[in-house]
Structures are given as C-alpha cells and as structure tokens.
Amino acid sequence: MNREQVADAYFLEHRAKLLDLAAFLDRIDRADHDGSAEDFRLIVFRSCISKLIDGEGDRARRILDELSDHTTEPIEAAPMKGAIGAPPPA
C-alpha cells in the first residue's frame, strides 16, 4: 500500500482514536485534583505522546520501551497478580 492507500484505509479509525486521546486528557484536566504530585502514569503518558510527533520512526517500540521496567534483577516477591501499564517510580 502506498501512503495515500494507508490513509484511505486507516484515517477515520485513527482520527477517532486521536479524539479519544484528546478527550481522555480533557477528562484528566476536569477531574478534581488535590494538588499533590502528578500520577506517575500520566507523566509517562504525556512523555510518550511527545514521541508521536518527534519526527523519529519506530514509535511503537520506543513508546513500549518507555512504558517498561528497565531494572534487571528479579524482585523479592510478587506484590500482586496484574500489571498497571507503566513502571512505578523507584
């Protein structure tokens, strides 16, 4: 597929996803906030958004990399079953 064909196939779907992203950030802004430090997930989320328009390729890999735990040793014990999507601050 050439670039125009990719846009023809996927633009509307990703236009909708872009608006979801915008609405999510607006929702965050509207939500009550007690003035404490910003949630670490939102900090990394905004940093990842900047990668979308930094002019570099390989965006999906670089964003996943930023959302990953980069320590190398096993942790002492599993604190829970699930994952939260971004590494908590050390």
Binding site: M1, D69, P74, A78, A83
Partner: protein, 268 residues
C-alpha cells in the same frame, strides 16, 4: 483459509465459540495451562484441570472438527508459593503421556519475582528431562521487557535449544531480541493489551515471517477467539499474498508444533 490457533484457553469459552471458529476455518488449536482467574485451593484442583485439558476439551473440539492439543504446567501467576507449585508439578508427569499433550506451557514469569523464576527453572528442567517442547508466557505491560530477557536467559542456562521454545506475547519492543536469539515468537491478538491484528501485521512487515505465529489467547478476559482469522483479513486488506497468510497462520505453527509427534494435522 484453514488456520491453527496455537494459543487459546477453551476451558473459558463457550461451545458457540468452537462453532464460530470452525466456520472461520480453524482446524486445530493448542491450549496452554493457565490461571483460572483465582488461585486454586489445592493440587487436586490442578488434577481436575489437567483432566479437563486432556479429556473434556478434545472431545468438545472434535464435535466441530477441530483438533485439540494442550500444554501442562503451573502458570507463573500461581508460582509465588513455591511449595504449592512443586506439589502441583509433581502430578504433571502423570499426564505427559496423554495423546494430546504437546509439552510444558505456558510457563514463564508474571511479576518477575525470585520465586516465579525458581519455578520457571524447575519447569525448564522438567522439559529438558522429558524432552518436551516449551511454550512460554511473557509478563504483561511494564513487566514484559524485563521478564522476556530473564526468561530467555533462564532457557539458555537450562540448556534447552531455542528452536524448541516458543516465546509468546511478543510486541514491538521484544520481538527482535526473541528472534535474534533463535527462539520462535508468538504474537497475541488482544483488543487492548498485547497486539491488535493491525500491529501484528505491522510487525510481520517489519521483522518478516520466519519463526513467528499469531494466536488469539482467547480466555475469560477481553479477548477474541476469532482474532486469527481477523488478522488474516487484515493481511488480505493490505494486499499480502495468500502464501504469506498461510505461512504465519498455518505453516509456521504446524512446523513448530510438529516437533512433537503428537501434533497431527493434515495439510489440505
């Protein structure tokens, strides 16, 4: 086009799903042992589960012309209690000779803890001693990159040949290392976490089709038992050849799984 879904948890799915999968071209599935959404209270619970995987599900699948195979293990989500996990592992050999068992899986890590790693290493030793294939679960979200690397190191330390090990749930940040180290790679097609069908096809376009497959990993959570045929449609939409589609949804899983003599699915 016929396809193989090499990772799906049919114990969590309805008979209607078997019907729809058969209509979509599913000829064979493999079902790794996994976490039920709650911790089982005794090893006997796993005994019953292994019977379900080796007796009930093959019969249910056969009603729709689908070959059912499975993998046995203690899932890493229940590996934190080492004593419990070892009790469960002691009953696995009793089931390994059953006709639809392909190997040990899905083993791996969940939160990358020391105890999970101990039980992973013991599973790998069991697989090596019993000359079994291995299907590996890699952790979720922020834990995946670290866990994938710990797992690959553990497999290497265990002396298992990487081309007899499938590392599942790869994404853009892990697929390259998995393939470069000689493992097989699985992409799981999920609506929110892991890969969407579109991203999976992006990965194929970027990294090629050698030693890689796609699966639905359909289970009790947000998932889609028709994800593999939907990815076939996505590939067709982009103009990929029928041969390429067949390579990743039939030939590749068949090649890896046929390393077990118990995987027996005929080509067209």
């Amino acid at each position: 086009m016929r396809y193989i879904d090499p990772h799906i948890h049919m114990v969590s799915r309805t008979t209607d799903d078997y019907s729809r999968m058969a209509l979509a071209g599913c000829a064979a599935i493999t079902e790794p042992a996994f976490w039920a959404g709650f911790d089982r209270s005794s090893p006997q619970g796993f005994h019953d589960y292994y019977r379900q995987l080796t007796e009930t599900e093959p019969a249910r699948a056969a009603q729709y012309g689908i070959r059912h195979h499975c993998w046995l293990c203690v899932n890493p989500k229940e590996a934190e209690d080492i004593g419990f996990a070892r009790e469960v592992m002691s009953i696995i050999p009793e089931f390994m000779d059953r006709s639809n068992v392909l190997g040990i899986g899905e083993i791996g890590l969940n939160k990358n803890s020391r105890n999970e790693l101990v039980i992973l290493e013991e599973h790998l030793a069991l697989a090596k001693n019993m000359k079994q294939l291995v299907l590996v679960h890699t952790p979720h979200l922020e834990d995946k990159l670290k866990g994938t690397r710990l797992i690959m190191d553990a497999v290497a330390n265990a002396g298992l040949e990487p081309d007899r090990v499938l590392i599942d749930h790869v994404e853009e940040h892990t697929v390259s290392e998995v393939l470069d180290r000689g493992f097989w790679a699985g992409m799981t097609l999920y609506p929110e976490t892991k890969c969407t069908p579109q991203r999976a096809v992006d990965i194929l376009e970027t990294y090629g089709t050698e030693r890689i497959w796609m699966n639905s990993a359909g289970d009790w959570g947000p998932s889609d038992p028709l994800a593999v045929p939907k990815a076939q449609v996505e590939m067709r939409r982009r103009g990929h050849t029928e041969q390429m589609i067949r390579t990743v949804t039939w030939d590749n899983p068949k090649t890896f799984l046929s390393r077990s003599p118990r995987f027996n699915v005929e080509d067209d």
